[in-house]
Amino acid sequence: MNAIEFHDVSVRLGGREVLNLVTLEIATGEFVGVLGPNGAGKTTLMRAILGLIPASRGTIRVLGRPAARGNPAIGYMPQVRGAGSHLRLSGCDFVASAVDGHRIGKPFPGKTARAEVNRVLGLVGAMELGRRPLAELSGGERQRLLLAQALIGRPQLLLLDEPMSNLDPHFQASAVALAKSLQTELGVTILFSAHELNPLLGATDRVLYLGRGRAALGTVDEVITGSVLSRLYGTELDVIRLNGRIFVMAGSRDVEHEPVPAHDLLGMSPHDA
C-alpha cells in the first residue's frame, strides 16, 4: 500500500495555484526529503495531506483513505514555532497537552499519558528539557519538544516541516538520524522538509523537489540534476558534486544559501515552465 497518493492534485491559495496538477506516490516506509525554495509549497503539501487545505482538483489519499483532518496515524511537526515561548509551563505539560488533546475532558494527564510523554521525550533525548519551563528553553530546545510531540501515539506517517531550522549542525544531524531510526526500526513513513539537501543525503530514499507549482519525485540522482531543477526554478541551474556534497548553482551563486534575485522567481506563472 502507498502511504501517500496524489492524483492530478491542484491546490489554490489566495488565487494562486500553489500546487498545479501534481501526481505522485510515496510508498509505506519511505523516507522522503521535501525540498524547494521559500514559497514552493512544502508546508502547503503537508497541510493538504493533513486535510487542512482542500485540493481544488484531483484526489489525495493518505494511508489508503482520502485525506481528512483528525487522522491519528499522522504525526505532524508544524513549521510555525514560537508557540508558548512566553509560558512558565513545563516542557512535560506542554508535550502532554497533545496526548488525546482532541478528546473532551480535563487536561490533567493520567498515568498512561505521563508514560507516553516520557517515552517520546526519551526518544528525542529531551527528558531533562521536560522539567524546565518553556520560557527558559532556547528555540532549538523547544523545537525538540515539538518533535517529541509529533511522535505521540506512535504515528505511521510523520510530516516534519523543517525540523532542522534553528538547529546547530550537531542537532541537525541528530534530527535526521532520529527520523531515520524511526523509519528503519518502526517502519514509519517520513516526509522531512528542509532548505538544504546535504544534511539529508545519507537518509533520504527519494527527494520531492517543489517549485512553481510543479513537483519532481525521485532519487537524488534522478531529481537533483541541472535540467530538472532548472525547470522547477524557471532559471538555468547547474548541479555540482563535491566530496559527497551537492551544490545547486545559478551561475556562480549557490541557490540554497544565497537567494535567487526576485526577478528570476517573480512574474512567472506556473504555466510557462
Binding site: 497541510r47 493533513l50 486535510g51 487542512l52 483532518r69 483528525g70 487522522n71 491519528p72 499522522i74 505532524y76 508544524p78 510555525v80 508557540a83 508558548g84 509560558l87 512558565r88 509551563l89 513545563s90 505539560d93 506542554f94 497537552s97 497533545a98 488525546d100 488533546g101 482532541h102 478528546r103 473532551i104 475532558g105 480535563k106 487536561p107 490533567f108 519551563p133 510531540q149
Partner: protein, 223 residues
C-alpha cells in the same frame, strides 16, 4: 494563555450595556447583562478564531457596546445610582437571590470548562497541531468566549464593570508567572482570587473604604 485578556475587559463593558438596556425595556438588569455578555462572547469567538485577528474583533464589539450603552444611559439618566452600582459594584450589597444566580452561573461555567478544557488547552498551546488532530478551532474559540462571558456576567454583579478585570485576569496572570504545571496553575489562580476577595472585604471592613478598591489593589499587588 490564549492572549485574550482584553476579551474579559470588553465583555464587562458589554455587560454594562446589557444591564442598562435591560432597565430600559423593563427586564431585571442581571438578565440583560448575562444575555448580552454571552452573545457578545459568542460573537467575538466566532469572528476571531485566529490569534492575530482577536484584538480587532474584540475592539469592534467593544466600540459597538459602548455606543449602545451610552445610548441606553442617555435614556435613563434618572437611575444614576444603579449605574454606579453596575460600574463599580459592591460586594457587601449582594442579596440572597443574587447569590443563587451567581452560584448557578459559576457552576455552569466551571462544568462547561471542565468538559472542554483538554481540547481547549491543546488548541491554545498548539493551534496548528490541534487543527490537524481534528479539533475545531472556531468551535472552541466560541465555547471559551461563552464561558468567559458567563463568568464575567457573574463577576460584574459583584465587583462592577470596571473592576471585573481584577478578579478574572489578575489571579490567573499571577499564577501563570509562578506555576509550571497546568494543575498547579489552576489551583493557584483560584487561591489568589479567593485570597484577594477575602482580604479585600476584610480590609474594607476595617478601613471603611470600598471593598472593590481593596480587591483591585491586591490584584495589582500580587502581579
Amino acid at each position: 494563555m490564549r492572549r485574550q485578556t482584553f476579551a474579559g475587559h470588553v465583555l464587562a463593558h458589554v455587560g454594562f450595556t446589557g444591564a442598562t438596556g435591560a432597565v430600559l425595556i423593563g427586564v431585571p438588569p442581571p438578565w440583560g447583562l448575562t444575555v448580552m455578555t454571552v452573545s457578545a462572547g459568542i460573537g467575538m469567538g466566532a469572528m476571531a478564531e485566529r490569534l492575530l485577528q482577536r484584538d480587532v474583533a474584540n475592539g469592534i464589539i467593544l466600540a459597538l457596546a459602548l455606543g449602545l450603552g451610552l445610548l441606553s444611559l442617555h435614556f435613563f439618566t434618572a437611575y444614576a445610582t444603579q449605574a454606579t452600582a453596575l460600574l463599580f459594584g459592591n460586594v457587601l450589597a449582594v442579596d440572597d437571590g443574587t447569590v443563587w444566580t451567581l452560584l448557578g452561573l459559576g457552576a455552569l461555567s466551571v462544568i462547561m470548562l471542565a468538559v472542554i478544557s483538554r481540547p481547549l488547552l491543546f488548541a491554545s498551546l498548539q493551534p496548528e497541531l490541534a487543527e490537524a488532530g481534528g479539533v475545531s478551532l472556531r468551535l472552541y474559540s466560541v465555547l471559551f468566549a461563552a464561558i468567559v462571558a458567563l463568568a464575567t456576567a457573574g463577576c460584574v454583579q459583584l465587583v462592577g464593570v470596571l473592576l471585573v478585570f481584577a478578579l478574572t485576569v489578575g489571579p490567573a496572570a499571577a499564577a501563570q508567572q509562578v506555576a509550571t504545571g497546568v494543575a498547579t496553575g489552576l489551583v493557584l489562580s483560584v487561591e489568589f482570587a479567593l485570597a484577594e476577595a477575602w482580604a479585600g472585604i476584610t480590609l474594607a471592613f476595617y478601613t471603611d473604604w470600598p471593598s472593590s478598591f481593596w480587591i483591585t489593589a491586591l490584584s495589582a499587588g500580587i502581579l
